[in-house]
């Protein structure tokens, strides 16, 4: 199982475990505040925006162009921004910390 930590805008820390699916699905299924996934995971709404911890950013990798474009004008965008629906959960992510960008 891969250990994944979400930190919400209010500072709540949620340590979860999963072995498949996406970061967005994991967040939605565990009612993580700020992970809404309104479009269901087709990169259309940017309601699953997370900041990936620095040391894991290279593991997760750069977003594709469409995702980059969706994030470009977001109020909370940083150099470590990703959309959770575009990150598949794998063993490589074990220990990752994700800050939720939205309230």
């Amino acid at each position: 199982m891969t250990k994944i930590t979400f930190i919400t805008k209010t500072g709540d820390k949620h340590v979860l475990e999963a072995d498949s699916g996406t970061i967005m699905e994991l967040g939605v299924n565990n009612n993580i505040q700020g992970i809404d996934g309104e479009c269901g995971g087709v990169c259309s709404c940017a309601t699953c925006h997370v900041h990936v911890s620095k040391e894991y950013y290279s593991v997760v990798g750069e977003p594709e162009e469409i995702e980059k474009d969706m994030l470009e004008l977001d109020d909370h965008v940083t150099a470590y921004s990703r959309l959770g629906c575009q990150i598949n959960i794998s063993e490589d992510l074990d220990g990752i910390v994700l800050e939720v960008a939205n309230e």
């Binding site: 939605v28 009612n31 309104e38 269901g40 087709v42 259309s44 474009d69 969706m70 470009e72 004008l73």
Partner: protein, 413 residues
């Protein structure tokens, strides 16, 4: 001790489920009970005409929330249960199974059902389905599984009809779309967009026939014979209806609530009756970004945003609906994103991108006001459009249509 309060939500799709969870977030401590006649664990609807139709995943894969999360938040689901009526005086709802349930607050998230047009023989056609629920798609998939290379007729060329056509083409079947109007998407978008999608479907091998009024469906068994007013006729192993919806406002009407082109609600989603709220596709509401005009929207965005407003209002936190509508559609490899409402536009500008033939955007204006943007494979245009509409930014139209001007907010004003 004061007994626990109850909030009942009728309708367990995007609006109802989001409202249930938002109620907890806003601090509702009492019971939350969601009723829906659909027996499935509530699911995302947009994939029904897309990946759920083409893929092999079960509907649970598309669940709005996991089963566990309902338990965790103490949200009771009453699925496969039909609500028969509302008694606003006694604050109870009556169920088809004879039981009744008392509420302190009631949220109507009743949505809509497919419109079944009056076509002779339609009720006897064995392989004819609408597409609104997971059950509908299961029927369609079952019908498609009986043999390869079927002839499918889709009646109606709105977004749903077109998405169905794209999905069924992907599965390798033959698709003919019959549209009543002179052009596809005529009720929902501009002629320019209609033309783009017409061409897209034609290139992908879909036959589109416009100006076709279907009058008759013959043969109870396959192939059905679909006949139009002009005498033309099409053989179909499967017929799918995509001619629009009828909102579920009967419960509200019978309860004496004000209903026009939807259940009338104010900016807080309250209906004409105290303690009763309405959210989602079924509402007739005002949009502050568009001169406060009354509108009805069939979209996930509206369902979710109204759900949040209702939850906050019910929990005593003053708030009002103030969102710019947005939509999306995926067909073949084309991603369409729409922000705003184009209706009433007096000018339309097409922005193309240098060396990117599959990417463009259509910008709709009323005088200097940007009303809406249709972005084709172009999320950048979509997010810039969203920003501009939100900020009521006046756009430099000359620069906008000049592909040599980079698509960046600072260059377009």
């Amino acid at each position: 001790m004061q007994s626990e309060k109850t909030c009942i939500i009728i309708g367990g799709s995007h609006a109802g489920i989001n409202c249930a969870f938002a109620l907890r977030k806003e601090g509702w401590v009492g019971k939350i009970i969601v009723f829906d006649s659909d027996p499935e664990l509530p699911y995302h609807r947009p994939p029904l005409s897309k990946t759920f139709l083409t893929g092999t995943d079960e509907i649970e894969k598309y669940a709005l929330k996991s089963r566990d999360s309902y338990e965790k938040e103490r949200i009771t689901l009453q699925l496969g249960v039909v609500v028969e009526s509302i008694d606003p005086e006694r604050q109870v709802i009556l169920l088809k199974n004879g039981k009744e349930e008392t509420y302190d607050k009631l949220v109507l998230a009743t949505g809509a059902r497919p419109l079944i047009p009056e076509i002779s023989g339609i009720q006897h056609a064995a392989n004819l389905f609408p597409l609104r629920t997971a059950g509908d798609v299961k029927n369609i998939k079952q019908a498609l599984s009986t043999k390869q290379h079927q002839r499918v007729v889709v009646i109606g060329a709105g977004y749903i009809g077109l998405e169905i056509a794209a999905s069924i083409r992907k599965l390798g079947h033959t698709v003919t779309i019959l549209e009543l109007e002179k052009r596809i998407l005529s009720r929902v978008t501009s002629p320019e967009m209609s033309q783009f999608f017409h061409e897209l479907h034609r290139t992908n091998g879909v036959e589109i026939e416009t100006g076709k009024e279907v009058t008759k469906i013959e043969n109870h068994e396959m192939p059905h014979q679909v006949t139009c007013a002009d005498g033309s006729s099409y053989e179909a192993d499967l017929v799918i209806l995509g001619v629009g919806i009828k909102i579920n406002s009967e419960l509200a009407k019978a309860a004496g609530l004000e209903v026009k082109n939807g259940i009338c609600v104010d900016a807080t989603t309250k209906t004409s009756h105290d303690h009763i709220y309405a959210i989602g596709d079924c509402t007739w509401h005002r949009n502050p970004h568009y001169n406060n005009q009354y509108i009805r929207l069939e979209s996930v965005q509206n369902a979710v945003d109204q759900a949040k407003v209702a939850a906050a209002t019910i929990c005593g936190k003053p708030t009002s609906y103030d969102t710019i509508p947005w939509f999306w559609s995926d067909q073949y490899d084309v991603k369409l994103q729409i922000v705003g409402l184009a209706s009433g536009y007096d000018q339309l500008l097409i922005r193309r991108e240098l060396n990117e033939s599959t990417k463009f955007s259509i910008w709709y204006f009323k005088k200097d006001q940007l009303l809406a943007v249709d972005a084709i494979n172009n999320p950048k245009a979509y997010v810039i459009g969203t920003k501009f509409i939100k900020e009521r930014q006046v756009v430099n139209k000359e620069r906008l249509v000049d592909p040599n001007t980079a698509l960046k907010p600072t260059f377009l004003i």
